[in-house]
C-alpha cells in the first residue's frame, strides 16, 4: 500500500495555505476601492505603454471630435464629450474610447466600451482634472487600430487629488 501518514509539517503547511486562501479572497473582493485596485500612479506615457504596448497610435483629428472647455474654472467638474465618426456595424465599429488626463496622478480617467447597438461611439461626462494640461481620447477600432486626439485645458482651481 502506498498510503502514508502525513507529517506534522505537511499538515501545518496545508492548514496555513487554506487559511491564507480563505482569508485573502473575500478581503480582495470587499476592498475594491483600495489603491491597489485603482490604476497605478504613473506618467501618461507609461499608461499608454501599459494599455497599448508598442501598437502604433495614429492621429485621429479627422475622426474624433473631443469637446472640452479651453478654461475650466473648477477642475473638479469639467464637462467633456467625445464622438468618433465611424459606422457602427458588426463589420466595422469603435470598440472602446479611453480618456486620459496627462496631469492626473492616475492618467486613465475612464474606458468606454461600445457595441454596434450603441449606434454611435459617443459619450459625455464630467472629469476631474488635477492641473492644466492635455486631455487625450484614444479610440480603439474593432480591428485593433488606434486613433488619438488631445486638447489642452487650463484648470483654474484644481480638482484635488484624483
Amino acid at each position: 500500500m502506498p498510503e502514508r501518514n502525513l507529517t506534522r509539517r505537511e499538515v501545518l503547511t496545508a492548514v496555513a495555505a487554506a487559511g491564507v486562501a480563505s482569508a485573502w479572497f473575500p478581503r480582495a473582493a470587499v476592498a475594491q476601492g483600495s489603491l491597489a485596485n485603482l490604476a497605478p500612479e504613473e506618467p501618461v506615457d507609461k499608461t499608454l505603454q501599459r494599455l497599448f504596448g508598442s501598437r502604433p497610435i495614429r492621429d485621429g483629428a479627422s475622426m474624433i471630435n473631443l469637446e472640452l472647455p479651453l478654461i475650466a474654472e473648477d477642475g473638479g467638474n469639467v464637462a467633456m464629450s467625445v464622438e468618433v465618426k465611424s459606422p457602427m456595424t458588426p463589420q466595422s465599429y469603435v470598440k472602446a474610447i479611453y480618456v486620459l488626463s496627462d496631469k492626473n496622478p492616475r492618467p486613465l480617467n475612464a474606458k468606454f466600451i461600445f457595441t454596434p447597438g450603441s449606434g454611435q461611439a459617443y459619450v459625455a461626462t464630467s472629469l476631474r482634472l488635477a492641473d492644466t494640461g492635455d486631455v487625450r481620447a484614444v479610440a480603439e477600432m474593432q480591428d485593433g487600430a488606434l486613433l488619438m486626439v488631445k486638447r489642452t485645458v487650463r484648470v483654474v482651481v484644481a480638482g484635488c487629488a484624483v
Partner: protein
C-alpha cells in the same frame, strides 16, 4: 436633496424606428476622490462608481469602466440604436458593492 444611489435617466419623448437616439443617465453618488497626505495617496477603501452598464430592450449596448477621475454625481450621455420600443436600463456599480439601477421606456414611432 436626493438620496445616494438615486438614478435619473433622460430620454427623448419619442424616436424614429431604426434611428440613433441619445440619452443621459445620472446617479447621486459622492464618487470619492483619492486623499493625499504629505504627497502620498492614503490607502483605504474609497467609494466610487467603477462600472456602468447600459442596456436597451434587453441587450447590452455599452459599458463604462470609470474611476475617481469622474466628477461627483457621475452623469453619462450616450447613444443607442432604437430598432424597437423598449426599456433603456442603466446600472451603476460602486466599489462598496452598491448597485443602482434606473430605467426609462422609449417610445418608437
Amino acid at each position: 436633496m436626493s438620496a445616494l444611489g438615486e438614478v435619473k435617466i433622460r430620454v427623448p419623448a419619442s424616436v424614429a424606428r431604426g434611428s440613433i437616439a441619445r440619452a443621459r443617465a445620472l446617479v447621486i453618488h459622492p464618487n470619492e476622490r483619492v486623499e493625499r497626505k504629505d504627497g502620498k495617496s492614503v490607502d483605504r477603501n474609497y467609494r466610487f462608481v467603477n462600472r456602468v452598464v447600459v442596456s436597451y430592450a434587453g441587450r447590452d449596448v455599452a459599458e463604462f469602466d470609470t474611476s475617481t477621475s469622474i466628477g461627483e454625481n457621475p452623469s453619462f450621455g450616450f447613444a443607442f440604436r432604437a430598432n424597437e420600443a423598449g426599456t433603456l436600463k442603466v446600472t451603476f456599480f460602486d466599489t462598496h458593492g452598491g448597485r443602482f439601477e434606473g430605467a426609462a421606456e422609449v417610445k418608437v414611432g
